[in-house]
């Protein structure tokens, strides 16, 4: 990327054109807006009359909102998070909408599996299989990180996603997951071997399954 710096270092406004713009800026007269002054004054008075009764309420609401720390996940789930200012860890959190808003973070299009984040479609087919997954990490406010994982295969809807939140110290404090529920594949079937990627991903994210014989946990 040093090449980009070297390239743009050589690019500057053409000297003659630059001087022409400069002298035009010096001689151009500012538009006269005097006619607008009385109109603006009348409009401002009208706005004030309408706004003052509501102003106090809005100021109170704004103060309340500034103390709240709202985290909105890609899956549409919203949380009110209380952060310890000294350690950066999450002291407590409350679900605003517990189950998200029905946003799907993994979709199939033309036989390919995509991770869908807002308007961005990332083709993850080649990264994913019954035993592998694609991981995307993004930093939110106050050191909070969101990790989105998509795994599985596009065929027969054998895919799914998990959306995790971690605090500034890397501790996971919330997650939401989903697999398409068409046909026989619903949440209950996540234990199926087609969803081994999920087991692997959850272990990789530091979750423990509390099975004393689990080789991934131990």
């Amino acid at each position: 990327m040093r090449d980009i710096k070297n390239l743009y270092d050589k690019i500057e406004l053409d000297g003659a054109k630059s001087n022409a713009i400069r002298s035009e800026l010096l001689k151009t007269k500012k538009k006269n807006h005097i006619w607008a002054v009385p109109m603006i004054a009348v409009l401002a008075a009208c706005v004030l009359i309408m706004v003052i009764p509501y102003a106090k309420e809005h100021i109170v609401n704004a103060e309340y909102k500034s103390r709240r720390n709202i985290v909105v996940m890609y899956s549409g789930k919203s949380l009110e998070v209380v952060i310890n200012p000294e350690t950066g860890s999450v002291k407590n959190f409350y679900d605003i909408n517990r189950y998200g808003s029905g946003v799907e973070l993994a979709k199939v299009k033309d036989g390919r599996l995509y991770m869908v984040l807002d308007d961005e479609w990332i083709d993850v087919t080649d990264y994913c299989s019954a035993t592998s997954y694609y991981r995307y990490e993004v930093e939110k406010q106050n050191g909070i990180k969101e990790v989105i994982i998509v795994g599985g295969v596009p065929e027969d809807n054998k895919f799914g996603w998990i959306d995790y939140l971690y605090d500034a110290n890397g501790n996971q404090f919330a997650y939401i997951s989903h697999a398409p529920c068409s046909g026989s594949y619903c949440e209950a079937d996540w234990s199926n071997e087609d969803f081994d990627w999920l087991d692997i991903a959850r272990h990789d994210e530091g979750e423990t399954c509390h099975d004393p014989e689990c080789t991934r946990c131990n």
């Binding site: 980009i4 713009i21 800026l25 538009k31 961005e120 930093e139």
Partner: protein, 159 residues
């Protein structure tokens, strides 16, 4: 805003705005026109800019002006990027390598090219780029990642 104040801003940032406009449009002439438009518009602004945000504000104005220009149907049909690139290479006496880099940059979509320019040349952080381009932080991160991959691929192909 007073003429002297606008000229001060012009002397400070005109080249930065020009490079940004050139990243968007690829054409020297159009980029110069955008810079001129932005500063002429400033003359009619009634407020003055705080020193710590004046560059970001001007970059945002430039980005918006470029986006408007790109979305106009007259512009879509009127610019030949190949000729424009050749003109840039000739005017700035670019080396063969610089020319390759410029052509590789121009070959990728402007939605990806501009974040790449702002990140690698201007040194802006993701959140600052997001403000200038009206995008979310994650969209900026994704575009830079994708742009880097495209650029690498194109440069490898060229070499």
């Amino acid at each position: 805003m007073k003429n002297e104040e606008v000229v001060r801003l012009y002397d400070l940032y005109a080249n930065d705005l020009y490079r940004l406009a050139l990243s968007y449009l690829g054409s020297k002439q159009d980029a110069e026109d955008v810079v001129q438009d932005v500063y002429l518009k400033l003359l009619n602004k009634v407020f003055s800019l705080k020193s710590d945000c004046e560059k970001t504000y001007l970059m945002k104005m430039t980005a918006n002006r470029c986006k408007n220009m790109l979305s106009s149907s007259a512009y879509k049909t009127g610019v030949d990027l190949e000729t424009a690139s050749a003109e840039i290479a000739c005017f700035y006496e670019l080396t063969d390598h610089d020319k390759d880099v410029y052509e590789a940059l121009m070959a990728i979509d402007d939605s990806v090219r501009v974040p790449i320019y702002l990140f690698y040349y201007e040194g802006y952080q993701y959140n600052e780029i997001a403000k200038i381009l009206n995008l979310s932080d994650s969209a900026v991160a994704m575009r830079i990642k994708r742009g880097k991959e495209h650029l690498k691929e194109k440069l490898e192909r060229l070499s």
